[in-house]
Amino acid sequence: MLQEVKPRVLVSLRGVGKTFAPGGEALAGVDLEVRAGEFVSLLGPSGCGKSTVLRLVAGLETASAGTISRGFDDVGAAVGFVFQEPTLMPWANVFDNVYLPLRLRGQTRAGAKTPVREALALVGLSGSAEAFPRELSGGMRMRVSIARALVLRPLLLLMDEPFAALDEMTRSRLNDDLLRLQAELGATVVFVTHSVFESVYLSSRIAVMGANPGRIIAEIEPAGGVERDERFRLSAAYARCCEKVSAALRGSGAGEASI
């Protein structure tokens, strides 16, 4: 008797709400389950609470309502987080910024050289290891932040619009690198983006969020088990899925204001 064995749940949000100031609900009734190995994208209008969900998952924020259970701390899984802003240490150069997570785990500088160099090469910053954050362009800073999240080869990756400040070519190359890495490591990714195409290309599941209050209004699973490559981008399934996500987004109340 063959039974589908579902991977274990890494994070589960049940009826989660978040209120920052009395009166204003940022999130309400958010249900989300992330299983090991999944690539979940969060998509939604600006200000709907995507970053907040990510921070709740990471435990950087406490929920005002509902329950959150995490299954990653007890397995000692490495977590990587790319914040929406680069969040670099201004007094440390690029190498030291990327070295940080390894350093916090007791890795020596010499031992960290190879992983840091690899991470920097991945984001195309091999030549800037000695530069300080204020000497970098906006996109370069964000790439340092990505390298820092990847240097641990984490099993859970939380990424908040990591590629928004990057040109399309770098972005699509990093998309492929990210998928490759995920496959290599069997990592789980929760990913925030504004690009429908990117989300469909990358995700095993897309959670479309709506605003006022922030909540999940649709979950869409792009064709599973299909190799992500140029061919997929040109496939009808891809186009259909993009259309479906866009339609869901249109219902979310994005872009509704006007002069």
């Binding site: 435990g59 969040t87 201004p90 007094w91 440390a92 916090l104 954050p133």
Partner: protein, 263 residues
């Protein structure tokens, strides 16, 4: 830079203060001469300079004593102030329990009970304690401000990566606090000096091992006002030198870490 450019650069940098200073000195000299103010009311700068030269055998050892106290007090203040700030940042309950003591220590004018200190300590230790107490609080306060100023998002990042308290301190809070600490250090340097002088006034030794404060008071008793001003000039020069040295140290430290502080 060509030598000519370098010259004009220096002139622009140091011209105004030198000019202002010379002008102030000239005005002082002129006022004294024109009004024929007797030296025991206000000695002319030329007389002060002459006294400085002629009394150097008395004044320089006293300067050394005072400077040494100042440096010791500042060193203690750095250790005590920064150390306490770090402890406070690490454990809130330590801060809540000991901040009141730190404030009490700072505002209690130990100088006023310096005589009692002499029961337990010798004169130079009593002076050191007083000078230390004047200098340590700005360093504590500014360092604490700096430690709390660390970027909230970076604090989150460190929390996420399960950084130990110690790691968060050394890798995040201390670098973030550096410019604040250096600001406190510059304040503390001057305060250690005037603290040392005030403490010497209250409890300082007399005679051969005496500091500049004693020389100033002695000159006052002996109505030797030019020497009083000469000693005072030495104190001021020492203070300016301490400030300049600490500023240079700040520039060096911040320069080495580049971008430290502001992004």
């Amino acid at each position: 830079m060509t030598p000519g450019e370098r010259l004009s650069h220096w002139a622009r940098l140091y011209g105004p203060p030198l000019l202002a200073f010379s002008a102030a000195l000239a005005a002082w000299e002129a006022i004294v001469r024109i009004n024929a103010i007797p030296p025991y009311v206000l000695p002319a700068p030329s007389l002060v300079a002459a006294t400085l030269a002629s009394d150097r055998a008395i004044l320089l050892p006293a300067l050394m004593t005072t400077l040494w106290t100042t440096i010791e007090a500042l060193a203690l203040a750095v250790i005590g102030g920064a150390g306490l700030a770090i402890l406070f940042a690490q454990w809130k309950w330590v801060e809540r329990s000991f901040l009141p003591f730190a404030i009490v220590l700072q505002v209690t004018p130990i100088i006023a009970i310096a005589p009692l200190l002499l029961i337990y300590l010798d004169a130079s230790s009593a002076v050191l304690v007083c000078a230390f107490l004047v200098a340590f609080f700005p360093i504590l306060s500014n360092t604490a401000l700096g430690l709390a100023s660390a970027d909230k998002n970076l604090v989150d990042l460190f929390a996420l990566y399960r950084a130990s308290r110690w790691q968060t301190l050394t890798l995040l809070r201390l670098p973030a606090a550096l410019p604040y600490f250096l600001g406190g250090l510059r304040i503390g340097g001057g305060l250690a000096l005037i603290g040392a002088i005030a403490a010497e006034l209250a409890a300082g030794a007399s005679g051969k091992s005496a500091g500049l404060a004693f020389r100033i008071v002695e000159a006052g008793y002996r109505l030797n006002i030019p020497r009083m001003f000469a000693a005072l000039t030495l104190v001021s020069l020492a203070g300016v030198a301490i400030f300049a040295a600490l500023s240079a140290l700040s520039a060096f430290i911040v320069g080495r870490g580049r971008g430290s502080g502001a992004q």
